[in-house]
Amino acid sequence: MSCAKYQDRLSDYIDGALSEQERIELERHMRECWSCWVMREDLLYIRQLSRELPDYEPSPQLWDRIVAAIASENASRSSKAPLRMWRFRMRPAFALAAAILVAALAGVLLQSRSPLPGSQNANLSAPVQWNTLSSSLLEIQPTALLLVHKPTIDSEIVEQRIEVLERQVQNRRALWDAETETCFRRCWEAIERSLSHCRYELERDPENAVLRELYLAALKAKLELLKHFSEL
């Protein structure tokens, strides 16, 4: 048999796909044929090296792009969309939009839990309209919200008020039913994530006025949330 014929079998040989007889025959040939032996060594080395090739990392923005595409798809069919819990980890590019969205979160939430808390007739067991809530959030236009959420009070004042309300909420929390607790926790975590990202971005860019506005908007959302739940 010619070298070419033997070499045709080399891939099967290094993958262990030859029959015993074929393998012995090929090995016998390679002991006498330098060029076939070198080819075997080369192919083995290429295969070994290929298995050690590292994985590459896509850019951090790729996940944000995927989430944006999903949100866009969901928004286009929001009337039929099932529950969507947007608890994705927000990266800087999304921190701004997220801060805007959570600023509206409390407002939408309050509307969905009528009658207003504090009322003797308030039906606390009524489920929150998550479908409505998520659909509403998806339809929010960030630019419109920027106009709506102009800061009118200083963040320090808001933070002081938040501290007071936090204590009140903690006192009342034990009385909540599971639905109310879940509802509160969802909103709370979303707002906290936004605040945390805003703080992070502000540390890097403290003079950024838009960031400061968004931070204040998120704080106000937190304040509204606490106000609402402190009365439950």
Binding site: V38, L53, E57, I70, R84
Partner: protein
């Protein structure tokens, strides 16, 4: 698939992410939990992206394809039943998207690419100083069809039967393409391409 109720949400979020299997995360994703889907993305993004990058050889295009793959997974995640590994599904989707990408660009899988010496070989002796960079460059110079089979078999570790199923070809074709790919790589690395 049953959607998660509000009360169950905490269970999902308080368990450590690593404790969920792909199947569990897929079920949560199908119920609308994007955090669960992000966890799946975190687990598999590198392998999918690397496969795409090596197949198309362009960072932007590789990211676009990876994005399409994960979007499609999100859309169809409810159909994932765990019979096969999620990785296999992801790779199959990646391969399909790459083939579509090539088709759009009028690239035939058997087409040859620019060839040349990529260096990194001590001839005529075995490949003693071949390094990864030289191999990566040589892979990019393989004809697309050879490259696909080579990446799936030698880099990703799929069997010929699996590759044949992914590409809709025979096992014999997959074997033949792989052998040709390896010979071509050898030739490129020896500067004989």
């Amino acid at each position: 698939m049953r959607p998660l109720h509000c009360g169950e949400w905490q269970t999902v979020t308080t368990k450590t992410a690593d404790s969920f299997t792909d199947l569990e995360l897929a079920a949560q994703s199908a119920a609308g939990d994007v955090a669960a889907f992000e966890q799946l993305y975190e687990r598999h993004r590198r392998r999918v992206y690397s496969l795409c990058l090596r197949m198309v050889g362009d960072v932007t295009e590789a990211e676009d394809i990876t994005q399409e793959v994960f979007l499609q997974v999100f859309r169809k995640i409810g159909t994932f039943r765990g019979e096969a590994a999620l990785t296999t599904w992801l790779h199959r989707l990646a391969v399909n998207h790459v083939l579509m990408h090539w088709r759009k660009r009028g690239i035939r899988s058997e087409e040859t690419t620019e060839e040349g010496d990529v260096g990194g070989i001590a001839r005529p002796y075995p490949l003693s100083i071949l390094d990864r960079i030289a191999l990566e460059q040589a892979i990019q110079k393989l004809p697309p069809g050879y490259r696909l089979v080579f990446l799936l078999h030698d880099v990703e570790g799929y069997e010929h039967e699996e590759i044949a199923a992914m590409l809709g070809c025979s096992v014999g074709t997959s074997k033949s393409q792989l052998h040709k790919a390896r010979l071509k790589l050898r030739s490129l690395l020896r500067g004989e391409g």
